[in-house]
């Protein structure tokens, strides 16, 4: 079963098949692990905010650090105007982080290693930010495609390039998270397979390697959640404050 390193990415149904209007809404292992992440986030934050002490306990300290971390990130990248969007970015960051971290547990499934999940996040952010830009600035928002100080002759070409660059945002945002998670987990499985096939004689070498890789993967899991959140802040900043 474990010989195929891509086997871990299989999505299968759990329980009965549910079909509404021809759309398959069955409960799968992906939904199960999303649910696990969501529940563990709720438990973690509920424990952290249960009794507010002046000298915080472990959970309270962790959740306070997390809160400060995100609020500092938002004020650094998007300024004061972005404060109302704190809940969205906080939930986005913590959900991606927990999905990545839950995926690091043995026998679990990594939700964010599927491009459809990350693309759904990224498209939601992209469409939301675009609507926000138009709501705040009206048609002036189209100015982000027209950089200042460009000769009129070059303007059509620059505009096409700017539009492509704008449209590539959700793609790069989703592909980055998905590719990092999938590549890392495949690599872990491949090295795990080497340990089995080389046995007691030479299996120690890939074993040490896969221990190191696990550490690296935990770093990547955190980093990618961070990058995802910080890029959302940057896009939000572009929509809130027009600079061009």
């Amino acid at each position: 079963m474990a010989t195929n390193p891509m086997h871990q990415f299989n999505v299968y149904k759990i329980g009965p098949e549910i079909k509404i209007n021809g759309i398959d809404l069955s409960f799968t292992n992906a939904s199960l692990f999303m649910l696990i992440s969501a529940i563990s986030i709720s438990i973690f934050l509920l424990l952290g905010t249960k009794d507010k002490k002046i000298i915080p306990g472990k959970f309270q300290l962790l959740s306070e650090i997390l809160y400060n971390f995100i609020s500092k990130m938002i004020s650094d990248t998007a300024g004061k105007k972005a404060k109302p969007y704190f809940p969205f970015i906080f939930s986005l960051f913590i959900f991606v982080l927990f999905c990545n971290m839950v995926g690091m547990l043995p026998y679990s499934f990594t939700v964010t290693s599927h491009i459809i999940v990350t693309l759904a996040f990224a498209m939601f952010i992209f469409i939301g930010v675009t609507i926000l830009g138009f709501v705040i600035h009206g048609f002036k928002y189209l100015k982000i495609f027209v950089p200042s100080g460009v000769p009129v002759v070059l303007l059509p070409i620059i505009m096409i390039i700017e539009i492509i660059s704008y449209l590539s945002r959700p793609v790069s945002l989703s592909v980055r998270l998905f590719a990092n998670m999938m590549a890392g987990h495949t690599m872990l499985k491949v090295f795990g397979g080497f340990v089995i096939s080389l046995g007691l004689v030479a299996g120690w070498l890939p074993l040490t390697f896969s221990v190191a890789l696990t550490g690296l993967e935990i770093l990547v899991a955190f980093l990618q959640a961070y990058v995802f959140a910080i890029l959302t802040c940057i896009y939000l900043n572009d929509a809130l404050n027009l600079h061009h």
Binding site: I160, S165, S172
Partner: protein, 95 residues
Amino acid sequence: MTKQDDLETRLKIAKSKLEIKHSKADTKKGAFLGNAFKLGTELVAAVAVGSIIGFILDNWFGTKPLLIILFFLFGSAAGIYNVIKTAKKMQENKE
């Protein structure tokens, strides 16, 4: 009174030391890895999006190989432009 003042100044010094340590650790550890990935995907995504737009427009107008080539080039330009923008932002953060 003097004791409290003393404590406060010591706290301030300790805090400023901690901040310096933190900022140094942030720039050294991990961040470079994220930045490297960021640059790579930024370039590839723009090329892919440009090519897809070219492909769709080709199917619309029936000018099969022309627009996809043109938009591939536009996509590459957009990719490089993206990379330059991101690199500039990184440099700003460093200073």
